[in-house]
């Protein structure tokens, strides 16, 4: 009971860490957090059929992100076994022009040179170029089992909104 605040905060950070993760192999872990079949996912007021669909889109169509939690508040709703969380965060996107897999849009020359930036070529992992911060509001409906260290399928609803955007970003949102 006493640690609920800290646990909620940690759990929210865990969710954002999953969103920021670029490793395809970790997607399964993230997926297991959502209640299978009936989790509701809303992204910028647009609903998703199921978590897999959302995570696929997030992996393939959103560049690398970096979320920072700013505020977390929560209420246990008596008799429902559910926790409602209201979260604000900020997020920035990798504006280097590369997707999560490190692939950019540049068309290579026949000899493979010229197009690659001077550094970051070869086997090195290309460095991310973080753009300016966007504002995020996130509402979660979680199973109170998270306070018993059980996270399997605990996310019942996930409502993610971008609430402000900087004008100097390269991203079209």
């Amino acid at each position: 009971m006493n640690q609920q605040g800290a646990i909620t905060d940690t759990f929210v950070k865990k969710v954002f860490a999953h969103l920021d993760n670029t490793d395809v192999n970790k997607l399964g872990d993230f997926l297991s957090l959502f209640q299978s079949g009936s989790a509701k996912i809303i992204l910028n007021s647009q609903p998703f059929g199921d978590p897999t669909q959302f995570l696929t889109l997030w992996q393939q169509q959103v560049v690398a992100t970096q979320h920072t939690v700013q505020s977390v508040d929560f209420h246990l709703i008596p008799g429902s076994g559910m926790v409602v969380c209201n979260v604000t965060a900020k997020v920035r996107f990798d504006e280097s022009g590369r997707d999560k897999a490190g692939v950019d849009a540049t068309i290579r020359d026949a000899n493979g040179s010229g197009a690659t930036p001077r550094r970051g070529a070869g086997n090195h992992t290309p460095r991310t170029q973080w753009g300016p911060y966007f504002g995020i509001s996130l509402q979660l409906v979680l199973n109170e089992s998270i306070y018993r260290n059980s996270f399997q399928g605990c996310i019942n609803a996930f409502n993610y909104s971008i609430v402000y955007k900087p004008s100097d970003t390269l991203m079209q949102v």
């Binding site: 640690q3 609920q4 605040g5 009936s38 509701k40 809303i42 992204l43 910028n44 007021s45 647009q46 609903p47 998703f48 059929g49 669909q53 889109l57 959103v62 560049v63 700013q70 505020s71 977390v72 508040d73 209420h75 709703i77 008596p78 008799g79 559910m82 409602v84 969380c85 209201n86 604000t88 504006e95 022009g97 590369r98 997707d99 692939v103 950019d104 849009a105 540049t106 068309i107 020359d109 010229g114 197009a115 930036p117 001077r118 966007f134 504002g135 509001s137 509402q139 019942n156 609803a157 971008i162 609430v163 402000y164 900087p166 004008s167 100097d168 390269l170 991203m171 079209q172 949102v173």
Partner: protein
């Protein structure tokens, strides 16, 4: 202005006039009235050897122009000279850069721009403008020092002409050795997609470094016949400078589809989502009722809370980037911080418990401890965004509202506490409290989530979570500064995917531009607008005959805009489309452009 021809007589006259009047200085003479104006002019012409042109009598003054600054100075030496029994008083009214000269230069530059702007392909052709015959004839930019000011001056003038929607600029053949003269290009034409700098003498990459990440829409660049185009790093440097460059010197350097997918977020924030239609009415009714009382009489709201209901406030003190429109860079949270239940900042379980209000009594007290507010949901619904989801575990629903409010007065409880605590806290208040800057009333942004359980004919609020943050213009508001192109209006891919899946999440409400908070009178009735045909496609006026291939590429919002413009302007389909397209599908801009170009439109542009 649409298509002002090269041979337009007005332009030639204006240019001739500009040339003649360039550099004139206005002068004023007093104490001459013992003789005639002609006598005065003859006297000055004879003695000072300066001719005053266009002289006029204005009361006791003789006002006119001399040809140059030098002449004006020469004339002023005769200030105080004896003429017709009095001492003349000669004054220079405006200096060399005075109004007459400047406005004529502006007028001339404007005529150059109009002549070189092609509205059809939105291109400003400044190729070889430094060697332009008309410019040379004007004599305004004759010597080298002045020549270097031509391009900056042209850009300056262009920046004030809102009707130039420039997507392409040609600056070839302008003897450019560096980019200093055109450094502001990205500010003047923020939408620029194509830029030609061919046949100049640009030699170093540093010259362009101030443009890094500035031309965020630049798709095509032509730099052939510049020394730097021969540099081995040329291509990679250009790719780094211009993140969205696709074509460099007529060669495709980036895959445009990939580029788009990398730089776009797959779903734009829509103002409204509701999981099912029956919740739409309930939630809008609830919101207008709740916010009205929240602003005017919070006590009355307590009837909606039960002994188990919970309320808390959490403060997000982060300061949004200054590049967010309207962002408050100096927010004050003084009233909220003492009650903030932000778990990332407050870790003691005891404090967290204290700052959670349970039951209407505690909630009522908490309501009085935060400032009085004014929400403008009814007046400006576009400032708000709402999501409504069913919450089956409590047989209820959650409403999340994002938006803003104005703080109108300090909290009720603030005055009470002050009186009670006055004595014991005097010393402390001097140091920490009573700080007017952190308790300044201002506009705030917020996100608030209610868990609502309908009971019989009323609603009980089980949970009420309010988060307060610095004021910003919200992301879902349409961008006014930059008209959005058809690209960004296209339906995001999410839609199709979501609709195809068979899931218990019906997208009950079209997510396009549904206003919220229409109030209980109107409830969730859609905005009055053009009648919608089947599948949400607006019915077009019979006189608006779009070719089917064009029509099929347009989304309902665009079709609706076309229809509206068509009915309003009586332009035919082709011109309506051109107008909409050239205005970036921005209704306001289209309307203004139309008003400005009426005189230049051919008869056949209109529906007869």
């Amino acid at each position: 202005m649409l298509q002002r021809g090269f041979h337009n007589a007005n332009n030639v006259q204006a240019a001739a006039l500009a040339q003649q009047q360039q550099g004139r200085v206005r002068v004023r003479v007093q104490n001459w009235t013992n003789a005639s104006l002609q006598d005065l002019l003859n006297f000055l012409s004879r003695n000072a050897r300066v001719a005053i042109q266009d002289a006029q009598v204005e009361g006791a003054l003789a006002v006119g122009y001399v040809g140059s600054r030098e002449q004006a100075d020469a004339l002023r030496k005769w200030n105080g000279v004896r003429f017709a029994g009095d001492n003349l008083k000669i004054e220079i009214v405006d200096t060399g850069s005075g109004n007459a000269g400047t406005s004529n230069t502006v007028q001339f530059l404007r005529s150059v721009l109009v002549r070189r702007y092609n509205s059809e392909n939105r291109m400003l052709d400044l190729g070889g403008v430094v060697n332009d015959q008309e410019v040379a004839q004007s004599g305004m930019f004759s010597n080298v020092a002045r020549q270097s000011k031509l391009l900056p001056a042209l850009l300056k003038v262009a920046s004030r002409e809102a009707q130039f929607i420039v997507l392409s600029v040609n600056l070839a053949d302008n003897n450019l050795r560096d980019t200093a003269q055109i450094a502001d290009l990205w500010q003047v034409f923020p939408l620029l997609q194509n830029l030609c700098l061919a046949n100049n003498s640009l030699s170093r990459f540093q010259l362009l470094s101030s443009w890094r990440n500035k031309f965020t829409n630049l798709k095509e660049l032509l730099m052939v016949n510049n020394p730097l185009a021969k540099d081995p790093n040329y291509k990679s440097e250009m790719l780094m400078l211009f993140p969205k460059l696709v074509v460099l010197d007529n060669v495709i350097v980036r895959d445009e589809t990939k580029l788009k997918s990398v730089y776009s977020f797959p779903a734009a924030k829509q103002p409204f989502f509701c999981e099912s239609t029956d919740l739409t009415q309930l939630s809008t009714d609830f919101l207008s009722y709740f916010l009205n009382l929240w602003d005017n009489n919070r006590e009355q709201l307590l009837g909606m809370y039960s002994p188990q209901s919970q309320f808390s406030v959490s403060v997000d003190t982060s300061i949004p980037p200054s590049t967010v429109d309207g962002a408050d860079q100096n927010p004050s949270f003084g009233y909220y911080l003492p009650v903030s239940r932000n778990c990332t900042k407050v870790s003691t379980p005891k404090l967290l418990q204290e700052r959670l209000s349970i039951g209407f009594e505690a909630i009522g007290a908490a309501f009085q401890s935060i400032p009085k507010t004014k929400h403008s949901l009814l007046e400006s619904p576009t400032d708000y965004s709402m999501e409504v989801l069913a919450f089956p575990q409590v047989s209820g629903f959650t409403v999340t509202l994002h938006g803003e409010f104005q703080e109108t007065d300090k909290p009720l409880a603030d005055t009470i506490n002050k009186q009670v605590n006055k004595k014991s806290y005097v010393g402390r208040n001097k140091k920490y409290g009573n700080n007017t800057t952190n308790k300044r009333l201002s506009k705030k942004s917020f996100d608030r989530t209610w868990v609502i359980i309908p009971v019989n004919n009323s609603m009980v609020i089980a949970s009420d979570l309010l988060s307060i943050r610095a004021y910003v213009n919200p992301s879902w508001k349409p961008d006014v500064a930059l008209p959005t192109g058809p690209q960004s209006l296209a339906q995001p891919p999410v839609q199709a995917g979501a609709a195809a899946a068979t899931v218990p999440m019906p997208a009950a409400i079209p997510t396009v531009t549904q206003p919220i908070g229409a109030g209980p009178q109107q409830g969730a009735t859609p905005i009055p607008g053009p009648p919608l045909g089947p599948a949400g496609v607006p019915q077009l006026a019979p006189t608006l005959q779009l070719p089917s291939d064009v029509q099929s590429k347009l989304n309902p919002v665009q079709l609706e805009l076309l229809n509206k413009l068509h009915l309003e302007t009586k332009l035919n389909a082709e011109y309506t489309y051109m107008l909409a397209d050239q205005s970036g599908w921005d209704y306001q801009l289209a309307s203004t452009t139309f008003q400005q170009s009426i005189p230049n439109l051919p008869q056949n542009a209109f529906v007869l």
